[in-house]
């Protein structure tokens, strides 16, 4: 009788462990799939934007920056990035480039219809001189159709 209970308990614990591990693995996989698909979507948009504008000097004269880093080091530059970052609903997340000598900055994004937008600001004596360029581009990838493996 006691042996049966012990056996039953062992089997129950084993099943519970198995279910728990499976659920955890499944959840982790699901979370990483969502992130991986988003990364693919944004990478595809970025490549198309850079190709469209064919700005070779973006790679050589500018550095890709994260707003969080700029905000910590130069509030004036962060403020200008914020002024330029006025993308409409349906656009991809903006990409931020800062010129190596901090004298100019670029904000890039793709609008919902695929239009690629480049916003530019150059430091002047009195503040910033802003300009904008728009060019047709390929559509944003359909998130549901992105395959990760």
């Amino acid at each position: 009788m006691f042996k049966d209970i012990k056996k039953y308990l062992l089997v129950s614990v084993a099943i519970m462990l198995l279910v728990g591990v499976t659920a955890s693995v499944s959840y982790a996989k699901s979370v990483s799939v969502g992130k991986a698909k988003t990364d693919i979507l944004l990478k595809d948009a970025k490549e198309d934007i850079l190709k469209t504008f064919a700005q070779k000097n973006i790679i050589t004269d500018y550095k890709l920056v994260q707003l969080v880093d700029v905000d910590k080091t130069d509030k004036k530059v962060a403020e200008e990035f914020d002024n330029l970052d006025q993308s409409p609903i349906g656009s991809t997340e903006s990409i931020f480039y800062l010129k190596n000598d901090s004298s100019a900055l670029i904000v890039l994004y793709k609008e919902s219809d695929g239009t690629n937008v480049m916003k530019y600001a150059e430091k002047t004596k009195d503040g910033w001189k802003e300009s904008e360029s728009r060019k047709p581009g390929k559509p944003i990838l359909d998130f549901d159709k992105i395959e990760t493996e």
Partner: protein
């Protein structure tokens, strides 16, 4: 001679009175901002805020004479902007708060919220950038 002494005392009193008047004419503030994101199932709750806290003169202050705060929230689902909204508060105690709930038809989504804080102060009529906070998560 007596008149001269009285004049000096009166002038000194006036100077002290004016100085204290000027000093107390200003109010000193710190401005903060924050962001929140809670993902669940197929959706996400987000929030953003910007608030001004009055501090005493001589303390650690950043702005004087705040007359308003503003918060802007941008929410992204799977890398695409789905919300861009802002709110201002022009009456003390200054606190502009934004909240929202988003949902998706599918699981495995990436959510990101960026809250940017602004304040109007020091006699300006427009809002100036204070800073931003950002969070992201997946479900």
């Amino acid at each position: 001679m007596k008149f001269k002494k009285t004049s000096i005392i009166l002038l000194a009193s006036l100077a002290i009175f004016m100085f204290s008047g000027i000093a107390s004419a200003y109010t000193f503030w710190n401005v903060g901002y924050g962001v929140g994101l809670d993902v669940y199932g197929y959706g996400a709750d987000w929030s953003g805020s910007c608030f001004a806290t009055q501090v005493t003169d001589g303390g650690d202050w950043r702005y004087y004479d705040v007359t308003g705060v503003k918060d802007r929230c941008q929410v992204y689902e799977n890398g695409v902007k789905i919300v861009d909204t802002s709110r201002t508060d022009t009456s003390s105690p200054y606190s502009a708060e934004l909240t929202g709930s988003e949902s998706s038809d599918n699981e495995s989504n990436t959510w990101k919220v960026r809250s940017t804080g602004y304040c109007r102060a020091e006699g300006n009529t427009s809002y100036e950038y204070v800073g931003y906070a950002e969070m992201w998560d997946t479900n």
